[in-house]
Symmetry: C2
């Protein structure tokens, strides 16, 4: 379990993972040792899954983002598992969720431009077996892109 101090550490690291143990300790009124041990524990027990950077996608040429709702034709277990394995191979799909509602899956897709998106849909996605309906929604602007966990829960 995590206590209040652990949660504060997670919150600070979420905002800036480069913050030093020393800085975090100062912010919490502790010394570096307990902070260091808590961080190691959070890593070991999987609360912290990864240290990463957020990259400006447009600066590296990925101008187009879309959400793609997909429903399958056949819902037998083996078909579902195959689809979920295939999706892992598609680099353009950065997120994929199995959802309840009118569609089966929601995909978040990142590509350089509309041509590449069309190529993705018609050449890569449509090439998978068992694809029923596909419906695309293009992102016009990103209103909010917060860090993972709402502060009220940390």
């Amino acid at each position: 379990m995590v206590d209040k101090i652990d949660k504060q550490i997670l919150r600070l690291l979420q905002l800036d993972a480069k913050k030093t143990t020393k800085e975090i300790a100062a912010a919490l009124g502790l010394t570096t040792t307990p902070v260091h041990e808590r961080i190691k524990k959070l890593e070991r027990e999987g609360y912290i899954q990864q240290y990463s950077i957020r990259i400006d996608r447009k600066k590296v040429g990925l101008m187009m983002m879309a959400f793609c709702s997909v429903s399958l034709k056949n819902h037998e277990r083996s078909f579902i598992e195959k689809f979920e394995r295939d999706i892992q191979m598609l680099d353009e799909v950065i997120d994929c969720y199995h959802i309840g509602g009118m569609f089966d899956y929601l995909l978040k897709v990142l590509v350089p431009n509309m041509d590449e998106y069309q190529r993705f849909i018609s050449k890569k996605l449509a090439d998978l077996d068992n694809i029923g309906t596909v419906q695309s929604s293009f992102v016009m602007s990103e209103i909010k892109h917060s860090t993972q966990i709402p502060n009220q829960f940390l």
Copy 2:
């Protein structure tokens, strides 16, 4: 602009932001100085927007994730701007995209459980002015949750 080496640095840091300058230098066959300067440049010029950690949401009690499609009643500029400002205030909304298609906005929402979700929809979201239709899709499982930028574009 970023060259091939910069892109490799971004890729490595995306996978593990704790990698030391020394390790990255070794991986690229360079010394620490040029790598350090390139990283500073990538930070300064905004390619790297943030250093962060990925937290296991379920381990901190956020068992429920949902996508929420929202359409507005009134589409005048001032109403749109108000909605976009209001959304920033809602902690449970971790992502919000202005999209083209049947709805106006797609929200990614994180809450502890169904009760909290209902409270969010009926007390917080519905309390905003100008909300037309709302349609929720619950995430049953996360098939893929990759780091931001597809490797083929780095």
